[in-house]
Symmetry: none
Subunit: 401 residues, 2 copies
């Protein structure tokens, strides 16, 4: 069952406004059994007021027990089944650095590695070369020239970079060249179908030229290529929901994910304050606003409980600028949990709040993990949040007569 | 979406231990409206302590309203979609008596019936012949000899027995011979595909020889054959979860179901006490332990509320021997509910408890049906329990980047 088969048939357009306010990695865990989570610890008077007026629940990003990456986590919030829409590693990496993939591009996630004189890998990450050094080398590799195609090389972090090949006749079914171990040479790029043979040949030429350009490097004298993938094909928010959607985000990854579903990227904000200003300035131009806040996740990843609490309070403090605009539907949630105790994304349901005139409020008084357990939304797969938001905005017609 | 496509890609191995402690038919109903269920009536201090520390919920064995047999109930607990993996009736019956089906065997669920002089069925169950009589007849039928195949005949209970055919060129697409009514003769075994014609021919010869061997019987003078089925093909726990799994069960059916998913059958315990001793003795050798306790179901089937309460207390009393081993994840649940009031398996959600360090505990204080309703696991399809257990054991990587 494709949810969009339903929404395409049922959506109606009106003048309502929906805001999806995402605290990345919002859910958490207590520091000790019986204690409070980061969100429960934080003073969040604005979110608590919304919780009182709205309806709460726990959203399961993918399926019970599955910890999602940022890609599946956000696709689910946008109403795109994260098991149906899989974004290849190369494409996600390109998306993450804000590289705008064109229709027939092939994106590749590449690593610098160290080769010995026999051509065998001695370090798959080139000694975790520093970003400032590897960025220079990536720029150097951008001078590679292969007839018939354009080649883009973009630095990422440490040993990682992205290669994008653009030109006619490319396809992405090419095997990884990283052998996943040392003591052996990188594998040859091998096409697994005929339509991808040109891509494999371009990749071979890229590797050969890269080896020459890197020959004098002590550590980063080789490259491996992984996750060959084309531009992800996702239907747009406009097409499946009838929404003119805007994304107001600081980090390239989230702008990239929003762009994949046809959202307009609004401005180049650096702070939450600037994001809210952009929201106000663009209020009339769009039906739907995705606002992304990163630091509830990054502090969780750092394992810094207190910092996550503080960042959650900042996330809360910006709420009045949203509510002042009187959105018809305001959804507050995360793309997954990132408990400081785990220092990583987790599988735990994400505290979720939906405030709207006809949401049928529940008995919840505050916004937190335990309170969400008694919420009226129950526990639900995150991919259903978008239809709930549309319904509350009066933007979904009746199914069947 | 096949859950195992996900788990295969995401599982990681580590040194954690998972225990799945199953009280068969654990869930129940009060004797009168407003009363307590069997589990709520029972004194279960050990399970209550786990409930306080862990996270509770209600597992739906198959789908809302569907009462499962033991096969689907357990497959779901093992994380195998009970609607995807269907075990044929013959194979389940063979599994239930501990018959170890080989790869190309065909198992058949057979009934003794009564035929009149014209060959028409007058009683489809041979007057519900007593087990001690039918067992003797089954042994007699084992003397059937058919060229080119081996034939095994195993008694079950009352009028039921199992026939297993072993040999080259057999397939299981053969129609039932039970006409489901009296006054007509048994049907001929008919193959519904070419590859099953040999099986149908063997079945015809079996019926002919059986009729001769049973000619002098007053009631059990005929046989009908149903549920022709080959060895169920299920991927193993090792392959889909990376788990070395052990089953510690008393009854053949549950050993058989565990064997179908590649669990090792440990020992031949006769009591819960012996099961716990086997758990202790094998603790280092496996990652995952399935412990099956039968009597919460059989007392429910008997309609004996008080006996089910007592058996539930015995089930609880063994818990300290599990927790003493400090499993990383302990799941306590049932494969379905068996309310004494209904004397049968039912569709009601099953009280479920998961105790693990990072489970994100809820407000629940005791282990019982009503308390589970406010549990942090919510209500969920039982097939998701295994991924939850794996996640809590740190045995599942992130989905997507």
């Amino acid at each position: 069952m494709d949810l969009h088969d339903l929404t395409r048939r049922l959506f109606v357009k009106n003048g309502t406004k929906i805001v999806l306010y995402v605290g990345d990695g919002l859910g958490g865990l207590p520091q000790a059994p019986g204690g409070l989570t980061e969100l429960e610890t934080a003073r969040t008077p604005n979110l608590d007021a919304l919780a009182k007026a709205g309806i709460l629940g726990g959203s399961v990003p993918v399926l019970p027990g599955i910890s999602p990456g940022s890609g599946p986590g956000h696709l689910a919030l946008f109403g795109y089944d994260p098991l149906q829409y899989v974004i290849g590693r190369g494409a996600l990496e390109a998306t993450g650095i804000g590289f705008d993939l064109a229709e027939n591009d092939v994106a590749i996630r590449a690593n610098f590695c160290t080769l010995d004189s026999a051509g065998n890998i001695t370090d798959r990450r080139a000694g975790r070369i520093a970003t400032e050094k590897s960025a220079v080398l990536a720029v150097k590799l951008a001078t590679v020239s292969i007839p018939g195609v354009e080649v883009f090389v973009e630095p990422v972090k440490e040993h990682r970079f992205v290669v994008v090949i653009r030109g006619p006749g490319l396809n992405d079914n090419v095997r990884d060249t990283d052998p996943q171990r040392t003591g052996v040479p990188p594998l040859e790029p091998v096409a697994t179908d005929k339509a991808s043979e040109k891509t494999a040949e371009v990749a071979r030429q890229f590797v050969t030229q890269a080896r020459k350009l890197l020959a004098d490097q002590p550590h980063a004298n080789g490259v491996t290529l992984r996750g060959f993938s084309g531009q992800p094909k996702l239907p747009s928010c406009e097409e499946v929901y009838g929404l003119r959607a805007a994304a107001i985000a600081v980090y390239p990854m989230y702008k990239g994910l929003a762009r994949l579903v046809g959202m307009q990227i609004v401005g180049q904000p650096q702070t939450l304050d600037e994001q809210m200003t952009l929201l106000e300035q663009n209020w009339k131009k769009y039906d739907f606003f995705f606002i992304h806040y990163k630091y509830t996740d990054s502090t969780g990843e750092d394992g810094d409980f207190a910092a996550k609490v503080q960042r959650t309070e900042e996330f809360d403090a910006a709420v009045p600028r949203i509510t002042a605009l009187k959105p018809d539907v305001l959804v507050v949630t995360g793309d997954h949990s990132t408990p400081a105790m785990l220092k990583s994304h987790s599988w735990h349901p994400v505290p979720t709040l939906l405030a709207a005139k006809n949401c049928r409020t529940d008995a919840c008084e505050t916004f937190g993990e335990r309170e969400c357990l008694r919420g009226g939304l129950g526990q639900f797969e995150a991919k259903h949040l978008m239809t709930l938001a549309l319904a509350n905005a009066g933007r979904l017609g009746k199914y069947g007569a």
